[in-house]
């Protein structure tokens, strides 16, 4: 990225975020309230039997596809860019499907591979309230460690083993604790999807299909999202998303004493990576709570209210979701552009026996768009735009949530001052990450 004037781009991005904050001070309080009011589009008449049948069918279809992919993973080629399993898991599922949830809403709820079999399971034991979303957080930390620190997360056989294990583990937990409870608080991917879907402009509201400004659904969160553990999960999602990017920079490699021009491989930094992702999650939580604490102290004094730190932090944690989604899109955009081509190539010949099911003919994966300045500029600006737009939405959403906590506009605005500084710095971090030299 040395060829691009990224310092100018970064300044412009940060300036956009600053201007959004200033605009919110000037604009009337009703602005964000109106902005985040959804429009009801289509009245839905639920037909319980059919709805369940449709969900079962979708879920069982997913399960069949997953079993087929696992078969390919266990028996197919060992090349991770030709085997359909790693391409489906990392490119289609983790990059594309998670990002799409920010547009389409919570599709995963209907197409996950478990609800077809386990949809009606009520569980042998109740998952205690005190367990909160902690089981899901543990699963997510394990998943992140596997993604970022394992030496071969893309190895088809290894991945097939892990996916099979996770599928069965989830099924057992659904049996033990009930499917709805486990998918909402223990199954980390459902939890990620649910959070990303909160940013989607589309959703169900008061028995209608509704559409509104991105993030409106964040104002009506499920109760477990605004518990302490739910908020910690949300913040960890952003922190680990940011660390997955930071861990490749020269800055990080220097910090852990690695020559960035001579990266020794993942096996040499397993401990550092796992420690890094835990520390970044912890640091982000501390910074976030500190901002909310100082903001709410000031707001409570102005408004004469007693909004607790717990309420303010958990409710406001929803507001960082647009940034998490934006980072996800920006960070994985380039990997997606290349690997989706490998996915198409693998789809046309899933069993690697020379078939051409999609009729592609001679198909070569191209990475030519990384070689010309104009295409690199377009890619970089798309990533940067994603980061900036994510922050702008976050600021607007945070302001709206603050208005709900402190209806007095001045108090709400003051409560957001530390958070605004945090957002500006986080924009800077995000854009710097995109431009920073990478050695791993």
């Amino acid at each position: 990225m040395l060829l691009l004037p990224t310092d100018i781009y970064i300044s412009s991005g940060v300036l956009t975020v600053v201007l959004t904050i200033l605009a919110l001070i000037v604009l009337p309080a009703s602005f964000t309230s109106t902005l985040f009011t959804p429009k009801l589009l289509l009245h839905l008449k639920p037909v319980p039997g059919w709805t369940n049948r449709l969900i079962n069918l979708l879920s069982l279809t997913t399960l069949t596809i997953v079993i087929f992919l696992l078969f390919i993973g266990f028996t197919g080629t060992h090349d991770p860019l030709r085997n359909l399993l790693p391409l489906s898991v990392w490119t289609v599922f983790w990059i594309a499907l998670v990002s799409l949830h920010g547009v389409l809403g919570n599709v995963w709820r209907y197409i996950n591979p478990w609800c077809g079999i386990a949809g009606q399971w009520c569980g042998k034991f109740a998952l205690p309230d005190s367990a909160g979303c902690w089981p899901g957080l543990v699963c997510f930390l394990l998943f992140s460690s596997f993604t970022l620190a394992d030496t071969a997360p893309e190895d088809p056989f290894r991945l097939a083993t892990v996916v099979t294990g996770y599928l069965l583990f989830t099924l057992i937990c659904c049996y033990l604790f009930g499917t709805n409870a486990w998918l909402a608080r223990g199954e980390c991917f459902s939890m990620v999807m649910q959070r990303m879907a909160a940013i989607s402009p589309l959703g169900l509201f008061q028995g209608h299909v509704a559409a509104g400004f991105c993030g409106w659904k964040g104002l009506y969160p499920s109760t477990h999202l605004i518990t302490v553990s739910g908020a910690v999960f949300t913040l960890a999602l952003l922190a680990i998303g940011s660390f997955d990017g930071l861990n490749e920079t020269f800055w990080w490699l220097q910090l852990i004493g690695i020559n960035p021009l001579e990266f020794p491989g993942r096996s040499a930094v397993i401990f550092e990576t796992v420690a890094g992702l835990l520390i970044s999650a912890l640091l982000l939580i501390i910074c976030f709570v500190f901002c909310v604490w100082t903001g709410s102290l000031a707001a409570n004094r102005i408004a004469g209210t007693r909004v607790s730190l717990l309420t303010a932090s958990t409710e406001l944690s929803i507001a960082i979701l647009p940034i998490a989604l934006a980072y996800h899109i920006a960070h994985y955009l380039t990997a997606f552009m290349v690997n989706i081509q490998y996915t198409v190539a693998a789809l046309t010949d899933p069993l690697q026996n020379g078939r051409d099911l999609l009729g592609l003919g001679r198909f070569y994966v191209t990475t030519g768009f990384f070689n010309t300045q104009s295409s690199v500029r377009t890619i970089w600006l798309t990533q940067a735009a994603s980061v900036v737009v994510g922050h702008v939405i976050s600021i607007l959403l945070a302001h709206r949530i603050a208005l709900r906590l402190w209806p007095q506009p001045r108090a709400a605005t003051v409560s957001q001052a530390p958070m605004a500084a945090f957002m500006v710095l986080y924009t800077l971090l995000g854009l710097w990450l995109l431009a920073a030299p990478r050695g791993a």
């Binding site: 060992h78 090349d79 020559n259 960035p260 021009l261 001579e262 491989g265 096996s267 990475t367 791993a440």
Partner: protein
């Protein structure tokens, strides 16, 4: 497991070396065609299994992409032409993640899981260093394309071979006389301040000075540096 198919004849190091010595231009860019001679007497329909240790992920992925592309093109050309002595080539690709530990695992898989005859494909020296001992223990001919001096210097083992590519020492020693005869006698070296750059610094300056040249300045650039421009003013005027 007892009925596991074994190739009719396994390659060994001597056969590979013999066939290479026999020349015939058989060693393609990535060392794909060993073993021609050793098989001329054997009639088998078994494919020749070649383990391709490829940098699919990690810092070497961009190289791996092209190594894979040329490998596939090469194999297709050979197989379309009827293979080698009637035996098709089968590439077994495994991602080493550009990681030495994973590299050793992959070499082991080639030998014990895939029954490969030979293996090849590694560029990054740290992966070669990590994998070569295992290749030696398993007596698996292991062709690498790293440019460090380690293979040529004998630092690894007899099973690790470096075909069709030279190492840094040979490159800079070959270049030094050309520079002293055609470009000038006073040279300033700018090099990255770690092993790769140090090889250039040490071998080039020795070879250049032996040819009567002078190294005016050796400017080491820290590996964390992202811009070289601020080092240019340090180049002595009479370079």
């Amino acid at each position: 497991m007892s009925d596991k198919k074994q190739p009719a004849v396994k390659f060994n190091r001597r056969m590979v070396l013999k066939s290479m010595a026999a020349g015939a231009g058989g060693v393609a860019a990535a060392g794909l065609l060993p073993g021609l001679g050793g098989y001329s007497q054997v009639h088998s329909a078994e494919p020749i299994k070649i383990g391709f240790q490829v940098h699919r992920t990690g810092i070497g992925a961009a190289y791996g992409r092209w190594y894979d592309r040329t490998t596939q093109a090469c194999v297709q050309k050979i197989n379309d032409a009827g293979g080698i002595n009637g035996r098709m080539i089968e590439i077994v690709a495994e991602d080493d993640g550009t990681d030495p530990k994973r590299g050793a695992e992959v070499v082991e898989k080639f030998a014990s899981q895939h029954n490969c005859d030979v293996s090849f494909g590694t560029l990054f020296s740290h992966v070669v260093y990590g994998s070569a001992p295992r290749a030696g223990e398993l007596k698996m001919p292991y062709f690498v394309v790293s440019e460090g001096h380690h293979v040529a210097s004998g630092a690894l083992n007899r099973y690790t071979l470096q075909p069709g590519i030279t190492d840094v020492k040979s490159q800079v020693e070959a270049m030094a006389p050309f520079i002293s005869e055609n470009l000038g006698k006073k040279v300033t070296m700018i090099f990255p301040d770690f092993a790769f750059g140090h090889d250039h610094r040490d071998y080039f300056s020795a070879a250049f000075e032996a040819k009567g040249g002078t190294i005016l300045e050796k400017i080491a650039i820290p590996p964390t540096e992202t811009s070289f421009t601020k080092y240019f003013p340090k180049i002595p005027r009479d370079t």
